[in-house]
């Protein structure tokens, strides 16, 4: 069974500090939903509010349409997977997994049987009698998932559970988690500061900034159609050119910046008028080399450094105004073509650039 989760104007305050500010959204039943944001953006607080460890200062949390006010964590249809997993070190693997059944007073036979089924589900068959300390990081991860699933939650909450794993394992566990979610058919709410995790696994992503939800969209929309300057700069690499909007026809606008005059598409979500302070965002992979004689968005730059990362060359360029511009060039097997200090002209198409109102940018 899966349940939807509704947040209605949820705010959480600790003294003078507001951790979550007026959050409202609906997470559909059976959805893989992620909250993405830098550390300190309030995403963990929001998760704890859903799980019942934190009461909202204002607003309501509804799970399956039921108001959760006054319902403690042990009575909610949610299960939380902690960042450090919080497995019980003095219990064996199967005791850990079947803890929720022990709480309900099920017989040892029942518990062993269910633990075995869940170990099967998370691809750890026959490991029930091991001690928690005997497992590897990835195995502990799966035990934590199994332990949470054993409680038969309608909503599974995950607090950055992959952050302690190494890169390869993390990528593997992404696929695994997604598969488990589809098999279990329940709502997953995932918290992460890692955009790669959020974008690959989720049906939808909510990007958070300083306790506020900036944007809720599916992965491609968050990446291709950011609605705020923060989302544009936080999700994926982006080059930002600040300037003043000089003309707009509703779908495309012209912006005067110290590095040149650029045209870019406008976002449907933010109405910009002539004269507004705004920022043009261009992804490093949308930048290409061109000639000063060409038409369109052109910038004269100097090559500062280049980094080889297998499938891409990452170049750092500098405009005549001293602004750093990042550019990614697909590795076509040719040796590095340029030398630091070389003068180049780069360009980008208006369709691959987006103009957004001036706002807070993510920290580099």
């Amino acid at each position: 069974m899966s349940a939807d989760v509704q947040l209605e104007n949820v705010s959480v305050r600790f003294g003078d500090f507001t951790a979550v500010r007026d959050a409202s959204l609906t997470i559909e039943g059976g959805e893989f939903f992620s909250f993405l944001g830098p550390s300190g953006c309030g995403k963990t607080t929001l998760l704890r509010t859903i799980s019942g460890f934190q009461e909202p200062s204002e607003g309501r949390v509804l799970i399956g349409g039921r108001d959760m006010a006054g319902i403690e964590a042990n009575r909610r249809p949610t299960a939380l997977i902690f960042q450090n997993l919080a497995l019980f070190p003095l219990m064996s693997v199967w005791e850990n997994i079947a803890f929720a059944l022990e709480v309900r007073g099920e017989s040892k036979q029942q518990r062993l049987k269910r633990a075995d089924e869940l170990l099967e589900l998370v691809a750890l068959p026959g490991q029930g009698n091991k001690k928690v300390d005997e497992l590897s990081g990835g195995q502990k991860q799966r035990v934590a998932v199994a332990r949470a699933l054993c409680a038969e939650p309608e909503v599974l909450l995950l607090d950055e559970p992959l952050s302690a794993l190494d890169l390869k394992l993390r990528q593997h566990m992404r696929t695994e988690l997604r598969a488990i979610q589809q098999r279990a058919g329940i709502t997953f709410i995932y918290i992460t500061h890692d955009q790669g995790e959020a974008l690959t696994m989720s049906d939808r992503v909510a990007v958070m900034r300083q306790g506020m939800i900036d944007q809720v969209s599916d992965s491609t929309t968050v990446y291709d159609h950011p609605e705020t300057a923060f989302v544009a700069s936080f999700v994926g690499g982006n080059n930002a050119f600040s300037g003043r909007l000089t003309a707009t026809n509703g779908t495309e606008a012209t912006i005067d910046t110290p590095d040149g005059t650029f045209s870019a598409r406008t976002s449907g979500h933010s109405a910009l008028a002539v004269g507004d302070q705004s920022i043009v965002f261009v992804r490093p992979e949308s930048v290409f080399f061109t000639q000063a004689s060409e038409q369109g968005n052109l910038v004269d730059v100097t090559l500062v450094s280049q980094e080889f990362e297998g499938h891409f060359w990452h170049l750092v360029l500098e405009t005549s105004g001293g602004r750093a511009v990042r550019m990614s060039v697909m590795n076509d097997g040719a040796p590095a073509r340029f030398l630091p200090g070389e003068k180049l002209t780069i360009g980008f198409s208006a369709a691959n650039a987006i103009v957004l109102p001036k706002g807070e940018l993510a920290a580099e």
């Binding site: 460890f53 403690e72 042990n74 009575r75 939380l80 003095l90 803890f99 709480v103 309900r104």
Partner: protein, 310 residues
């Protein structure tokens, strides 16, 4: 051994190494092992006060079990099958010490849990201070204060009478209430701090995880907190039990007139009885039985000796 010494001195420097090895060796040999060996030696000897000084060290000055025999069977003209007074006092002391230990554990566990997992910052510091400061008052003063508190005309009786809960005063001292309260209070810090240390190192997420999986608070304590705190519980209980069984001043001052603590009998043999060998034998029996008892309980609760130090 030589290479270990070399390594030790290269790691700590020659000066510090000599100091550490010297003091620790001195401490263990002179302060711990030697005196106890002397006591053990005493306990197997005849009382020198009954021996002609000329014969001391002579062929009649031999090892004997007479002192241990006396603890079990009393004097040769004792009509009972065993030494009723001493043996009874011995077991009563052990049982009372167990009772005081359990009582302390019951009182201290919630306080230690609160300090370690619930209270924050300034409140923790204030509570710890409030626990420690009363122990600046010395033991004798505290004991006599308890006499005043628990006496037949003491504060507690006065309050209970004034509130109409009692019609006539209870002699808390005769009933040993004062003694148990005093002993329970005397070693409370030795229970709280090991518990606090153990519980404090428990990851809060484990408690929340258990809660999240539907557990009641009772089960969280039974399945998560107490198993984790077991080494702390063991070291707290061991210390309180040993010190209670070996307490002397409190039983002397606030013990009821009819109830003797085993240490008081030992004290009498050493002091008024002028019989050091017998006093030593009694003290050795108390020590050995207490240690054996602690190991037995640890075995029952499956705690290894190495865990206590954690």
């Amino acid at each position: 051994m030589i290479s270990w010494l070399k390594q030790f001195s290269s790691r700590n420097g020659v000066g510090l190494s000599v100091y550490l090895l010297g003091t620790v060796t001195l401490w263990i040999l002179v302060m711990i092992i030697l005196p106890q060996l002397l006591m053990l030696d005493f306990s197997f000897r005849h009382n020198w006060h009954h021996m002609d000084p000329a014969k001391m060290g002579g062929p009649e000055d031999v090892y004997t079990l007479v002192n241990y025999h006396f603890l079990l069977y009393g004097s040769p003209n004792n009509p009972d099958p065993f030494n009723v007074v001493d043996v009874t006092v011995f077991f009563r002391t052990i049982i009372a010490a167990v009772f005081v230990t359990i009582f302390d554990l019951a009182i201290c566990y919630p306080i230690a849990y609160y300090l370690a997992q619930v209270a924050k910052g300034a409140r923790t510091r204030f509570m710890v201070l409030a626990l420690i400061v009363p122990f600046w008052v010395n033991e004798i003063l505290r004991a006599f204060a308890f006499r005043i508190l628990f006496g037949e005309e003491g504060t507690l009786n006065a309050i209970l009478l004034a509130l109409g809960i009692l019609n006539e005063p209870i002699d808390f001292i005769r009933e040993d209430v004062a003694l148990y309260a005093g002993l329970g209070y005397a070693y409370i810090l030795l229970m709280i701090f090991p518990l606090y240390n153990a519980i404090e190192s428990l990851d809060k997420n484990q408690i929340e995880a258990a809660r999240d999986l539907g557990s009641s608070w009772l089960r969280i304590h039974r399945r998560v907190v107490i198993p984790f705190a077991k080494p702390g519980i063991t070291s707290g209980c061991t210390m309180v039990f040993m010190l209670t069984a070996g307490a002397l001043a409190l039983p002397q001052i606030i013990g009821g007139p009819s109830s003797l603590w085993f240490t008081q009998i030992i004290y009498q043999w050493f002091n008024t009885g002028s019989n050091w060998p017998r006093g030593s034998a009694y003290a050795i029996v108390l020590l050995v039985v207490c240690i054996a008892f602690v190991f037995l309980v640890m075995r029952i609760f499956k705690v290894r000796i190495g865990e206590i130090g954690r």
